[in-house]
Amino acid sequence: MAAAVLDRFSPQALRVLALFVVLVLIVLFFGSQIDNYYSARLFNRVSTSVAIMAILATGQALVVLTRNIDLSVGSIVGFTAFAVGDVLSTYPGLHPLLAVALAVAIGAGFGAFNGVLVAYARIPAIIVTLGTLALFRSLLVEYSDAKSIITANLPEWILQLPRANIVSFGDLDIRITFFAAVIVVITVHLALTWLRTGRKFYAVGSNPEAAVMAGINSTRIVFLAFVLCGAFAGLAGFFFLARFGNITVVAGLGFELKSVAAVVVGGINIFGGSGTVLGALLGAILVDLIDTSLVRWPLVSEFWREAVLGFLILGAVAIDAVLMRRLLALRHARMKDRRDKSVAQDGATA
């Protein structure tokens, strides 16, 4: 029963539910517009491409939860993809796990730089990361020396990685990269739900002043959020390298806005304190699905695509907001009902 669902789920779970409904609506819409839309291919396309954005959105979510923003993640992805590609071109024998560790470490290093400026020097995050967005990109341009990473020089295992499957159901592939992204999202979700440090991310974003009064080291939490966000951007950079192989200095350009879009569409409050990374995952899938479907929709010309994409994202957010409000109102009414009953009983006994 709908009523039972309303009772059982928290507002955050309702939000994920609402997003899911929007996702289904989008699929139905494009299904009616595009031939052969419902195919294993579509799933494979979206799942492999969302793998990178999901990891990035997870990191972004951590930062946004603490009432901050990281606009430098696109540049971190680009730099990491290039640097790890460069190292692997020079030392093709490097162990795959070491390559991943290197990517995460580089990303975490950039994240720490952001974190120090935001958490300790107390410069607003939007200013810091707008600066490092350009700074990290320029470092990449400098580091690249006008060269690019080409697949020919990369070891075979990393080129095979994007098409490696965990399992296949007929044509439907669960690729390693997608699987890894889902594992990352679930792990972070569990950590945010069950670890005290995880809850403090919410606390700091929810009311920074109260966090200080409650003896929470919010400086450390904000710093940690940026380091983790950088680390995830580094990991995304590794997957970027594996998927695209040819890395130029423009790698990851614009990813910062896509990750913010995924996070916001995914229902994480841009003013911090509420939302889940599961929502961010759904947000990433939603944005990617719209993007992937649009380029296959003959009705929309190349030049209008960006506009239609923005319009559809706004539409999705609006539908989601309306749905969410209806669900919350219903839930609220039911809870008030119950409370009134219990108050009436209290009154009777007093």
């Binding site: 052969n36 990109r137 341009v141 020396d145 006008a146 690019s148 697949t151 192989g245 200095v249």
Partner: protein, 346 residues
């Protein structure tokens, strides 16, 4: 041993060059001081760096005591950055700005201002579409011939009939647009009657966008046989996408690419054939043209003939691919396949 396949059109062009011009060939006088700025579309792309190497070679050869600066915008800021660098170079009193234009006609006001202030603007790789504010365009190859070569490659890859699509760079890249137009012209010939151009899409010269666009093309056109990408970034992204999705036996990737970047895809059959010219030579020739213009040895008028060091003699002509504007045509270019790509890559 490398065997270079030169297209018939390129051979024709060479013949055209060989015809003696009316004027006497101008020689460059060494050691004159000329300050130059080499302005690529943006930094971090290998071919532009190769062009710089060629320009540096000419700079040393001509013993120019002046300065040759290689400056470009960052990728995300290409259009505004080019305009800004153009303006800055003018204020600094540079003698020449050598521009690979990525800003379409938006560059015109700053280029015109530069000319008015005595800074020559020589374009290379990609011209100013209207020709305004530009002294001369050093064309890598004849744009018409690029169109024919691309049509020919598609013809051979499709075995004479089938569907092809174009994966270009940005929608306002003048050179790519001109080449695509030339190819569409060529496709009107009866030889290509069974080849259908189904779509033109843009990958913004970004690996990830190009990669996704290539996949979208394959999904959208199940019978697609060739993806033609006249951009070095697009062609390798498309080849990687086809390779990753195991589609190389259905869809062949072709276009303009660097041998060193394409070698693995050519050998495994994902991109059996592609073409390119030498960007070092292009940088070298552009430098010579600029130096001669700045020193007043040539005026930048139709029919002037000059000597460009190791590359020989060139003539300034009316650019037949644009309504107005002058060009110096370099040519020819090379088609690479599994027989010659390895040698060229090293």
């Amino acid at each position: 041993m490398s065997k270079i396949i030169t297209s018939a059109i390129a051979a024709l062009m060479a013949a055209g060059l060989a015809a003696p011009a009316a004027a006497e060939s101008v020689m460059a006088e060494k050691g004159q001081s000329v300050d130059l700025t080499l302005l690529p579309k943006f930094l971090g792309i290998l071919v532009f760096d190769q062009a710089n190497e060629g320009a540096q070679e000419a700079h040393a050869e001509l013993e120019n005591p002046g300065e040759l600066l290689f400056v470009g915008p960052t990728p995300e800021n290409s259009v505004a950055g080019q305009i800004e660098i153009m303006t800055t170079s003018t204020t600094q009193g540079k003698d020449v700005v050598m521009l690979s234009n990525n800003a379409g006609d938006q560059i015109v006001p700053s280029a015109t201002a530069a000319q008015a202030a005595g800074t020559k603007v020589v374009t290379w790789d990609s011209p100013i579409p209207s020709g305004d504010g530009e002294s001369v365009f050093v064309a890598q190859v004849d744009f018409g011939s690029i169109g024919v070569v691309m049509a020919d490659m598609a013809h051979s890859l499709l075995g004479g009939s089938g569907q092809m699509a174009v994966l270009s760079a940005t929608p306002d890249a003048a050179n790519q647009n001109a080449w695509i137009a030339a190819m569409e012209d060529a496709l009107k010939g009866s030889k290509y009657a069974d080849i259908e151009l189904v779509d033109i899409v843009y990958g913004d010269d970004q690996s990830e966008v190009s990669y996704n666009r290539a996949l979208a093309l394959v999904d959208q056109y199940p019978d697609l046989g060739v993806i033609m990408a006249p951009t070095t970034v697009g062609i390798q992204a498309a080849a990687k996408a086809m390779q990753d999705e195991g589609l190389c036996d259905q869809v062949a990737v072709s276009g303009l690419g660097l041998p060193s970047e394409m070698v693995s895809y050519t050998l495994n059959g994902c991109a059996p054939e592609f073409a390119l010219w030498d960007f070092r030579d292009l940088g070298y020739l552009t430098y010579y043209t600029s130096y001669l213009l700045a020193t007043g040895a040539i005026k930048g008028e139709i029919g002037e003939t000059f000597d460009a060091g190791r590359m020989g003699e060139y003539t300034i002509e009316k650019d037949p691919t644009r309504d107005s504007g002058l060009r110096v045509l370099m040519g020819p270019f090379t088609v690479y396949n599994k027989d010659n790509v390895e040698a060229a890559a090293n």
